[in-house]
Amino acid sequence: MTEPTVVAGAVIASDKSTRKPPPPEKASDVRRRTWVILSFWFIVLCLLPIWWRTTTIYRANLPLDEMLEWADGKACRPVFPLRISIQADALQEQEAQNLLRLTQHALDDLNDFSGHHLRLQLSPPSTVEHQSRDRDDDTALIIRLVPGEFTSSTLDPYAPILDITYPPNTIPSPTSSSSSLAAYVASQLRTTFAEEQAIISYLLSTNSMPTEHRPQGLTPEAAESLSKRTTRSLKYAPTYHLTFSLFTSGPLPSSWDIEAAIDSYMRPVLDVLSPIHNFTIDTQVQLYASPGVQSQILNKEDLSSFVNAAEWPLSPSIGGAPTINFILFVGNQTIGSTAPSSDNPDDATNITTTSSWLLPQWGTVYLLSLPPSSPHVSLATLKQPLLTFTSHLLSLTGTPQSGSLPLRLSTLARIRSADLLLRASSTLGSLARLSLALPSIAIPGSVADGVQKTMAHLRLACETLGGAEGLAHARIAEAEAERAFFEKSMVGQLYFPDEHKIAVYLPLLGPMAVPLAMGLLNIVKEWTKRRREKKERGVEKKNV
């Protein structure tokens, strides 16, 4: 309250006479003014850290180096130790040991890709039933050696067993250093696992693995066929949704025995795949469905636009799982043999006999021609389409083509775990590179948590690669990595340049900052003046 009057007085005084100094301020007024200004400054200084804390973007500490190591494949070297047990009941212990040693030797010589080991072991002589029952342990394949007339081998279709017969005279003597039987077994093993090895080494080569861990390399043709396989197969998801659709060009048929058909022709495969994937199923029927191509005879170019995506209700958006479509189209259109397509002339010769085709990562279309007045598609009619769908389902899920079914499935599990491991690693790398590249992106604590979890599970998966446990860990790691990368709160205005900050703060803080700074300046000035005066007075007193 006193200040304005002082100022006014000063103004009046300067009006009257410029030489006359203003009346001296009371010491208490000066002190109070100082307190006022200092308290303002005190508040500002107190609030500064709060302002700083609340406006900085929170960035949790990520173990960037470790993440990048995972992405570069330095943290984990994917090794698949496949244990193969040899069952040779007819052989002496020592003979068998010798054979095993030689075979292992031959295998090691043949193997050019260190990530994929085949380790042989001798299983104790026992009955087959017993063996096949507890094959839950890590044994990938059992070789059953049976004496016979000549050397031959067959894969058991029901279990991962390779039956090899041999003439008794081919058994290596304990002293010999090479054996044709051992070489034969080794080469059989190699051909059995050739596809798996090729797929895994292809997976590693397409990911950013350092060169020293890379396999020796693939021929361009092999790489092409493998890339075709990866093109065809869907990205791994724990659950797939299968949609079976019956589209008819006219009013009939209007019903089908799809449930029974699925149960009898597809359910077994779904059950077998159940350790790796879950499946949900829905079916639909649509009458008067017009395909995307109207011509009577379809050539290969037409097939890709046959599915009328605009009008057929094909994406049900049920749940969160990706959909695999199986379409049964009842009409009179046929697939015609056309001029041999440029990429593969062999295809064209086969086209005449077929009525179905596979759309990579999407599903299958099967053309069925029925007598025009049949109102119902029977179970027997559905057999062939469903079997086609089933085999396509296997290739859409990425199951290898060769070998017996149990082997293909265990291979699928191994491929998927390698795939998931690499995918999770590369997601970690992406996250690390992004957090370096975008300095203004927020990284909440949950992301750091997710990264930690991912790496823990990756480590476990890396140790137990090849088994069911490895797949489970890789699955968790991948899910966690995805969750960390796609953290919802990591969005916002990423780009916020400094000019914008100035534009926001200056009009707001500028007018407030000026009196504050001037006030502080005044105080300092007065304080130094007073000190000088005090000093002078002190000097005068001493002199007096």
Binding site: D112, G217, T219, D271, V272, T354, P360, L434, K488, V491
Partner: protein, 394 residues
């Protein structure tokens, strides 16, 4: 002899291998389209018509609704000023109703925001977001991103309320590339000074094209006197003209280069720009991409060979293995059931504990409490100090 000849096969195979085979550039397996109109209000009718006509085109060329993300910030069809309620036309002849009865709008009205657009691109969405509103692409997906609205130097306005910067867009694309969420992108934008929007992009495999250079406006093509406003922009109009006359169905072999060559200043009244340098293989490779690689949905199908007769046998073997598996599973289940009976006994106790009301998220609960307490204490302290300071004055 038999054995040795068998042995030779793997040896030959190994010899045929040679180091570091180049990994062939893979084809795409799915096509997606993100079509965004960003402006509100009746007089921006043409932006909605632009985006709807592109929507019709990509749908005609086979991209299903589930793979088209359509963002419409306003509802022109139901606007009270619309003389033709329920319809949107992009031409004064009003031959084709773009709105029609088979249209799936994914983001509508105030859902069309910069944040939602970036969330869509980067897929940073909550669990509640339905699949139809997400861009579920992978490293084999080609994406067409078409945007139209009012823009300026390095920004595009959304809803007259906010804007997306060229940097934001570039960062979003980079995040998509890092996460392998696209194979190739065709980015197309029709706004004033559109070419500045793609100038900051830095992620590979993007072809970008825009309607006008810096300091150039993008003009509308013509107005419909009955509708009362301009119905389409020039750049979009001539794109559509090309797509409708030259790309009649998915078997068309017209390339993206042909499309870009059709742009002239005489037609568009501004300098349309194209950016190739981000694309792997540069201009030549980019120009050779088919129009249907982005506007259509064309995949390499695999036609089956002759019937596979081994299938039935496979299935038989399958069902047998399943019988064995199920038997084993049942055994395990029985064993597990014995264990769970003990666990069940202890469960009810735990249930009682969780029945109390709980905050939805536990995280930072204590920090929040402390913050609140500090704030209260601070207020009390201030009040105390002020009354203390007041007292001596009296």
């Amino acid at each position: 002899m038999r054995l040795s000849s068998l042995l030779r096969v793997p040896a030959l195979f190994a010899a045929a291998l040679f180091a570091a085979a180049p990994v062939a550039q893979a084809e795409h397996t799915s096509n997606w389209a993100v079509l965004v109109s960003t402006s509100r209000f009746w007089f921006n009718y043409r932006h909605l018509a632009n985006v709807l006509s592109i929507y019709r085109t990509v749908k005609r060329l086979g991209i299903p609704d589930s793979q088209i993300i359509l963002m419409l910030p306003d509802d022109m069809a139901c606007n009270p000023r619309n003389a033709f309620p329920g319809t949107v036309y992009s031409n004064a002849d009003r031959a084709v109703d773009l709105y029609g009865d088979n249209i799936e709008v994914d983001y509508r009205g105030y859902e069309v925001t910069v944040e939602n657009f970036i969330r869509l691109l980067t897929d940073r969405v909550g669990d509640e977001m339905p699949r139809s509103k997400r861009l579920l692409t992978d490293d084999r997906s080609n994406i067409l991103v078409y945007m139209t609205g009012h823009g300026g130097n390095e920004f595009l306005k959304f809803q007259d309320a906010e804007e997306i910067g060229a940097f934001d867009l570039a960062d979003a694309f980079e995040q998509m590339w890092e996460k392998k969420r696209y194979h190739e992108i065709l980015f197309m934008i029709d706004t004033c000074q559109a070419n500045t929007m793609y100038s900051k992009l830095y992620s590979p495999n993007i072809i970008a094209t825009g309607s006008s250079e810096l300091d150039q406006s993008s003009y509308s093509h013509h107005a419909d006197n009955d509708v009362g406003v301009a119905v389409i922009d020039r750049y979009t109009y001539y794109n559509l003209e090309f797509l409708e006359t030259e790309v009649r169905d998915t078997s068309s072999k017209k390339t993206v280069g042909d499309l870009f060559d059709s742009y002239t200043y005489e037609k568009i009244h501004s300098h349309a720009g194209v950016r190739y340098d981000l694309f792997r293989g540069g201009e030549e490779e980019a120009r050779s991409r088919l129009v249907t690689d982005f506007f259509g949905n064309v995949q390499n199908v695999e036609v089956d060979g002759s019937k596979n007769t081994t299938l039935e046998e496979d299935l038989l073997s399958l069902s047998r293995t399943i019988a064995a598996l199920q038997q084993k599973a049942e055994e395990e289940e029985q064993a597990a059931r014995q264990n769970t009976t003990e666990a069940v006994k202890s469960k009810p106790m735990a249930h009682h504990k969780t029945q109390f009301a709980k905050p939805l998220t536990d995280e930072n609960w204590w920090t929040k409490k402390i913050f609140g307490a500090t704030a209260l204490a601070g207020c009390a302290l201030l009040w105390g100090i002020s009354s203390f300071l007041e007292a001596p004055g009296k």
